[in-house]
């Protein structure tokens, strides 16, 4: 795979959200990344494991999750190309949650050693990655509010709009529609409800003419209703260097 394809989404994201300088782009372009293919629903790194590398999503979708003793799983975040969802493993040595593929995925692995060297060479890149992990925690705060306070249809709409705004940054929104390759069960796990309740909620938002969700794709039917239902304020995504 050509080197610029591997890093394209990451660099595009950093250009928009952190205004990365050209010389720092060169540093990232020079970073050794080993690419591996993963099938869907495969653990990339598990809760309790000690990681020695970080994972850049080149293509495909992943999720971070945690499973409680009864076996029920909470999806904590959806992760898309250009993101390094386990960046914190550079400093937090033992994983405290799972990172799993949702779809077949192309993943690029960057060794902790090389990331440390890059940080020492370029403090600006280190700051950018630091900012990335802070945005990560802002998203977790929003996710807690979502699951804890909003009714289920609003929760679904919020998760959908968040995903769309992040996909937009890497040029992966196609008019009114975008990818959300989750099963009903996985949607339930993201919203803290059962698969059957998730199915009920998906039918409800379709009947109300808000969004259509089928075969892993969301199509917005009424943008205004969608925004109102989600109660979405995208500031927490900090998608500009001034935010």
């Amino acid at each position: 795979m050509p080197s610029d394809t591997i890093r394209a989404a990451l660099i595009q994201r950093l250009r928009v959200s952190s205004a990365i300088a050209d010389e720092d782009v060169k540093e990232i372009e020079a970073l050794p990344i080993s690419v591996r293919q993963y099938p869907s629903e495969r653990a990339v790194v598990r809760d309790g494991e000690r990681a020695s590398e970080c994972c850049l999503i080149v293509d495909g979708f992943c999720a971070r999750s945690k499973t409680i003793a009864s076996g029920r799983r909470q999806i904590l975040s959806l992760q898309i190309p250009g993101e390094i969802p386990d960046l914190m493993s550079l400093f937090l040595h033992v994983m405290d949650h799972d990172l799993t593929t949702l779809t077949p995925a192309t993943l690029g692995f960057i060794s902790h050693d090389n990331l440390r060297k890059l940080h020492r060479r370029s403090p600006r890149v280190a700051e950018m990655f630091w900012r990335d992990t802070l945005i990560d925690s802002a998203m977790f705060r929003e996710w807690i509010v979502n699951v804890g306070q909003r009714p289920a249809p609003a929760r679904l709409a919020h998760v959908m709009i968040e995903l769309r705004e992040r996909l937009r940054l890497i040029g992966r929104v196609d008019g009114d529609s975008f990818e959300m390759p989750l099963t009903q069960e996985q949607i339930g796990e993201a919203l803290g409800i059962t698969a059957v309740h998730a199915n009920r909620v998906i039918k409800q938002v379709r009947q109300e003419g808000v969004v259509e969700f089928s075969r892993g794709r969301v199509t917005v039917l009424d943008e205004q209703k969608f925004q109102e239902l989600a109660d979405f304020d995208g500031r927490y995504l900090h998608q500009s260097p001034t935010l």
């Binding site: 009714p151 059962t194 059957v196 199915n199």
Partner: protein
């Protein structure tokens, strides 16, 4: 593994579960029905959409083998009852 379907009734509206889910036994399906029923009822009651939620659990196209029924009862109490302040 048997496949169970969970049909939801919100008052008289029926939402049929075409897809179904696999569970090792009826016990697993019962737990799922309980979680589903209580979470749908909470939302339907709060939204004022219904005051009776039923989950019918069936194996494939068979008749239901389990029914979970959750009803909202709100009593407005008369305002002229004596109130005591300790």
């Amino acid at each position: 593994m048997p496949r169970f379907h969970f049909d939801i009734h919100e008052d008289s509206r029926l939402i049929k579960d075409e897809d179904g889910q696999n569970f090792a036994n009826v016990e697993g399906a019962r737990k799922e029905a309980m979680l589903t029923g209580t979470s749908i009822a909470r939302e339907a009651f709060v939204a004022g959409r219904a005051d009776h939620v039923v989950v019918d659990v069936r194996e494939d196209e068979q008749t239901p083998c389990l029914r979970i029924s959750i009803r909202l009862e709100v009593q407005e109490l008369a305002g002229d009852q004596p109130r005591t302040i300790a």
